[in-house]
Amino acid sequence: MYDKLWLIPFFPLLGSVINGLFGKKIKNEKVIGSIATLAIASSFVVSCLCFFTLLDDKVKIHQQVVASWMSIGQLQIDWGFLLDPLSALMIMVVTGVGSLIHLYSIGYMHGEEGFYRFFCYLNLFCFSMLMLVLGNNALVMFVGWEGVGLCSYLLIGYYFEKKSAGDAAKKAFVVNRVGDFGFLLGLFTLFWYLGSEHNVWTVNFVEISQNAHLLPAGGFVVTFVTLCFFLGATGKSAQIPLYTWLPDAMEGPTPVSALIHAATMVTAGVYMIGRMNGLFALAPTTMMVIAIVGAATAIFAASIGLAQNDIKRVLAYSTVSQLGYMFLAMGVGAFTAGVFHLMTHAFFKACLFLGSGSVIHGMHHGYHHAHLHDDPQDMRNMGGLRKKMPITFVTFLVSTIAIAGIPGFSGFFSKDEILWWSFGSNHGSWMLWLVGAIAAGLTAFYMFRLVFMTFFGEQRTDPRAKDHIPESGLTITIPLMVLGVLAVLGGYVGVPAILGGANKIHHYLEPVFGHTIEVNHIAAHGSHSTEIALMATSIAIAVFGIFLAWLMYVKKPELPGKFVGAFTGLHRTIFNKWYVDEIYDALFVNPTKRLGTFFWKGFDVKVVDGIVNGVGALVNLASKGLRYTQSGLVQNYAMTMVLGVIVIAAFYFFG
């Protein structure tokens, strides 16, 4: 079965090429959508086969080389794929969620101009993402890494005629480039160090983890390398300090936000750290930095999410916050928990985004019907939609409960494991736990604020549009229902031992992380009663958050206004995202622009153009003088010739 691995990225590439080349001629939306969806669904089928073969297999790590890429001296780089439990899980998530979102997009993107373009990019994205997770060496991963960045850029800028969309796309691309620079620097340093010091010339992941012991644990090199890789991860996975692009990325169509900016691409950083866990575990400093950045991002983004009114922006900050959790998990050595949260988050956050897309679709329909130009994404225009959109409402509610961390739903299991590890791990601390728990409370609050503002209470939509908001069609609701079910059940693969579960995912990922955890003595210590107490506390915090949201947005809707009145400054700061964009503009963007302007007007125009024009002017001036020798009189020329002869003769006789 493993020799069919190459088919997994191949199908989306094929779909992308077909739609990209012939989509304009095909025109028929059903055909275009079917090609794209079939392509990714085929990948899903192959992924399933590989996944289940791997489950029953004794050998857990398989490499398949398709072709040689470059061969330089002792360095051999292949187009190779690596299937181990980690990448198998990732391809299941990418192709599974990807298939559902493709199906959803057929309904959601109906009637959009450039329908084929959308599906071409979406398939191309799936191809790149699968290359990223399947690559058996860092360079193939980097190809995927850049590919998803490109597709992200293309899809954020899908509505390129809108300036804000174009700007958001550029921002995402540029910010990601900063991270990519870190990734490359880390890779080069690692490659150079292993090669020059130990004569191990390799970028292959399996070989890197086999040779990880050559790097002195906690030494400067491994710390530098992992910090560089982590910088790459912060760019791709929207962590402090490079998270600012993700909220702006919501300018893209909603399925894109669900697939790229929630479920798959933004988790690439987490995946990358998981893939190189052997290196990261050797650098305690880096681990600490990751844990702190993750926890800080979790609470920081959650705080911004409290005050946003755009339904997709709330979800965007929620994504940043949840990614922070994953990094927190990675940082405290809970690799399994991080990947587990990655998976459950993919389910419930994709469901939430698609649900918000369904709402926006309905609102847009209503406003379109009434010829209004209100913002269909503003939650202040919504309210009471649960009767109009029952399926969307139920799936959305289920996913919200899952993300809020209510027992029995997927988010609870994964988030609680992260919190437990952040407290009990020998890389963790109670402060990390506290920050994580508070962020969980904030998450519960703002997510239920979103649900209450959107689906409960009085409908605040313009009266002319309010009766024309339909439930979305089947292509939209089927993915919602599937993802809703997964959002509930997805967590049961990782029920912790303390709740009588088998923690299957832990055993499943053992071949990837087990060695690292054993060698580096990473473990979570603590009594069962502590674990239970922490669990109870985080549940209590989550329930309190939900209660507060209910109180403020259902029971006493006048409360938020009073609250804002009482804390105007704080509210304005949070509403304006802590002015981080403005600070970045002042610190980096504007100085860079000024530097660019200086080089343009100061250096290029004056110096470079000056030299070029000066040479021209000099030649012009010289010829202006010299042309007077061209008198047109034959005798002058003859005179010159004679003088020349005399000079030559004189030189001959006297020289």
């Binding site: 061209q630 047109g632 009189l633 034959v634 005179m639």
Partner: protein
């Protein structure tokens, strides 16, 4: 006794006179005649040296030069006639169109 030395001096004098005429005279036909003078002064030195060295090459060269001079005369005079027809002058300082 007239030696080859005297021939060469005469040739140099004739050549210098011709050159001077070419550079100073305005009438194209006079310039042309001066050129003929230069050519024939060279012919003279050819002949003198040929005789002095007992080598026939110089005399052969003289025939070539005379042939070229004849051809030149034909072409040159034709040019002067055309020039005169167009400009009503053959003063070379009046003919200076080929300049900046």
């Amino acid at each position: 006794m007239i030696s080859v030395y005297h021939y060469l001096v005469l040739s140099a004098i004739l050549f210098s006179m011709g050159t001077f005429g070419v550079l100073t005279r305005k009438n194209a036909i006079v310039i042309f005649m001066c050129i003929e003078l230069m050519l024939n002064s060279v012919n003279l030195s050819f002949i003198a040296l040929s005789r002095h060295l007992g080598n026939m090459d110089g005399q052969v060269f003289v025939f070539f030069v005379m042939t070229v001079a004849a051809a030149e005369a034909a072409v040159g005079l034709a040019l002067f006639i055309t020039l005169f027809r167009n400009n009503e002058t053959i003063e070379v300082d009046q003919v200076n169109l080929l300049k900046w």
